[in-house]
């Protein structure tokens, strides 16, 4: 610690150059924070997935519906414990920009399928009794100041009603929460019976089935048995684990992890060039000062350590600032976009990774100038001065 003041003074010997380098580090780690949070959001579905839950969708595309008649056949498949279904409604609330997922489903079956979702029993009963009833997650309730008893209109973008109307009105009967902090509650559930009765087309179909396998059954074998049942039918199925389904759903937007890695790779490569150049210049312009330090008794290793510490310090100052501002922006974005892209979160693993990258990048950017300083011959350097 006694060298910190000396190292800090050296870092700021050229204020504009250091500020610009720190700014570039700041931008890089700001991007790191934002992209990590987005990447986390896309894979959070897989993280919270239950290994015993399977998803059955149309083999060709998730957009194709499956017949309602499949439900009993799936339920009768050996190893299946329980079944429910859901569909994509795709409406908006108040303004086309205010979008959050809405799913028509079966009240009791759905909450039985997702035990991590918690809601008072009387609210679940109330929803089951009210055909136009709906329940919403805590995140939605807080974001739009909604409460039990409110009536909310959802404008359909796909599912027009049989009477030609596009406005679907729901009574909020309950507000659910999740026990898993990584899970999202930014969605609305309403009764499939109301959906089935009121929609203009697509009757007798559902978007996908969700099933729970028996504890002693092999999920892969159960999935294969289901797909085999519907092979060569007009609606062949593809059954996968919930995690695999979430991952394939996220991949519809592209390989997010790869995109994030490529962007960050390019950013950090540029960052290394910028900061490496800064450190090289910094060492070149004070060759005689480094020689004086060695003359005073600073060992080769100590000189190496101080130069390397300067490089790491620049990375840590810019990086921690970037990470801090990024964390604030992620918090804000999670509030603003939580319904559209739930699960945006800067994980502790991402923060630790970022700090490790800061230190690593500081070492890589500073190692060659530091070695140059370490190997410096006092006689030659003083003669040049």
């Amino acid at each position: 610690m006694k060298y910190f003041g000396f190292i800090w003074k050296n870092v700021w010997r050229k204020k504009i150059r250091t500020s610009l380098t720190i700014l570039s580090v700041f931008i890089a780690f700001l991007l790191f924070a934002l992209l990590s949070a987005i990447g986390y959001a896309f894979k959070s579905g897989a993280d919270v997935a239950d290994a015993e839950r399977l998803i059955v969708i149309d083999k060709i595309t998730l957009i194709n519906p499956l017949p309602m008649a499949y439900k009993n056949r799936i339920a009768a498949t050996e190893g299946v414990h329980s079944v429910t279904h859901s569909s994509w409604f795709g409406g908006y609330y108040q303004d086309p920009r205010v979008q959050f997922p809405q799913f028509p489903t079966e009240p009791y079956e759905y909450f039985s399928m997702y035990p991590e979702l918690k809601m008072p029993q009387e609210q679940l009963d109330g929803w089951a009794r009210n055909r136009q009833g709906a329940v919403i997650g805590r995140e939605l309730a807080e974001q739009y100041s909604l409460k039990v008893g409110d009536r909310i209109p959802i404008q359909a973008t796909i599912w027009t009603k049989a009477d030609g109307g596009r406005t679907w009105e729901f009574d909020i009967e309950g507000i659910f929460e999740t026990e898993d902090p990584r899970g999202s509650t930014a969605f609305l559930l309403f009764q499939y019976d109301y959906f089935e009765e009121a929609r203009a087309f697509g009757k007798g179909s559902v978007g996908w089935y969700i099933l729970r396998v028996s504890p002693d059954a092999d999920p892969i074998q159960v999935g294969n048995a289901i797909d085999l049942q519907f092979a060569n039918s007009p609606n062949e199925t593809e059954t996968s684990t919930e995690a695999a389904f979430s991952q394939s759903f996220a991949k519809q937007f592209g390989n997010i992890a790869l995109i994030v890695t490529l962007i960050l790779g390019a950013v950090f490569f540029t960052l290394l060039l910028v900061s490496g150049n800064t450190m090289s210049q910094s060492v070149r312009e004070r060759i005689s000062e480094l020689a004086v330090l060695k003359t005073l008794g600073f060992s080769d290793r100590l000189v190496l350590g101080t130069v390397l510490s300067e490089s790491i310090l620049i990375m840590l100052v810019g990086g921690l600032l970037g990470l801090g501002v990024g964390w604030l922006l992620v918090q804000g974005a999670a509030q603003a976009m939580g319904a559209f892209l739930p699960g945006m979160f800067l994980s502790s693993q991402a923060i630790l990774t970022a700090i490790a990258v800061m230190i690593g990048a500081g070492i890589v950017a500073g190692i060659f100038p530091a070695l140059q300083a370490m190997r410096l011959s006092i006689i030659d350097a003083l003669a040049r001065a």
């Binding site: 000396f6 000062e289 003359t295 006689i379 003083l382």
Partner: protein
């Protein structure tokens, strides 16, 4: 008979300059008494600075031995030499070589970073050293805010702060006007006479050499003459 601080025995130093070997010092024998003030004079390239570098452990002889304060420094490793220099030698350069990012106080504290002294102890000792060179009121000034003479005084304070027995001065007045040079030389005399520092000073200036107790004339790699000032 005065005690010997440093002894050079059969010291030669040869540099490789391209394909040519240049012998800067040839089979040199020298004894330096503790508390002496010696000026080394001679033409450029005569080996004055090389002699100083060998005494300060900045360079090693091609042959022969260098003993300073009972330590044979010519056989020490680089890290041993670094440690040894930090407590035994004070260097004063022609162009002061202060660190521009540090104040006078922090420049003087620099060698003390290598010790186990606390921050307040380092500040206290640097304050004393600055007091000896007459710069108590300039502790918070940066080198760019000081005159050449003041910068050299800070450099002298930095050289004595760790209380070394030997001060090696390479043209300490070479960048100063006559009046300021005289002040610096008087200061070196005080350090020699009142604080017991042994001083080896390389200079081209005959007037500066008069402040020393002895003058060594270095020429063609040998010490040709040794005379009382």
């Amino acid at each position: 008979m005065s005690e010997t601080l440093a002894t050079l025995t059969g010291v030669s130093k040869t540099y490789q300059k391209g394909k040519e070997k240049v012998e800067v010092l040839h089979n040199l024998d020298l004894e330096i008494a503790r508390g002496d003030f010696i000026a080394i004079m001679g033409p450029s390239g005569s080996g004055k600075t090389t002699l100083l570098n060998l005494l300060g452990g900045l360079d090693k002889p091609t042959s022969g031995t260098v003993d300073v304060g009972g330590a044979e420094i010519s056989s020490m490793s680089n890290s041993q030499l670094s440690r040894w220099r930090s407590t035994n030698i004070g260097f004063i350069f022609q162009f002061y070589n202060l660190l521009p990012v540090l104040t006078a106080q922090k420049n003087v504290e620099l060698p003390l970073l290598l010790t186990n002294f606390s921050g307040s102890e380092r500040a206290h000792r640097a304050g004393i050293a600055l007091g000896i060179v007459g710069l108590e009121g300039r502790t918070d000034h940066y080198p760019r805010e000081l005159s050449g003479g003041q910068e050299q005084r800070v450099a002298i304070a930095r050289a004595i702060v760790s209380d070394p027995s030997l001060l090696l001065c390479d043209e300490p007045t070479g960048d100063l006007d006559r009046e300021t040079a005289s002040e610096i030389l008087k200061l070196l005399q005080i350090l020699n006479r009142e604080h017991g520092k042994t001083i080896m000073m390389v200079t081209h200036d005959a007037q500066a050499a008069e402040y020393a107790n002895h003058i060594l004339i270095c020429d063609k790699g040998t010490l040709e003459r040794q005379e009382a000032a």
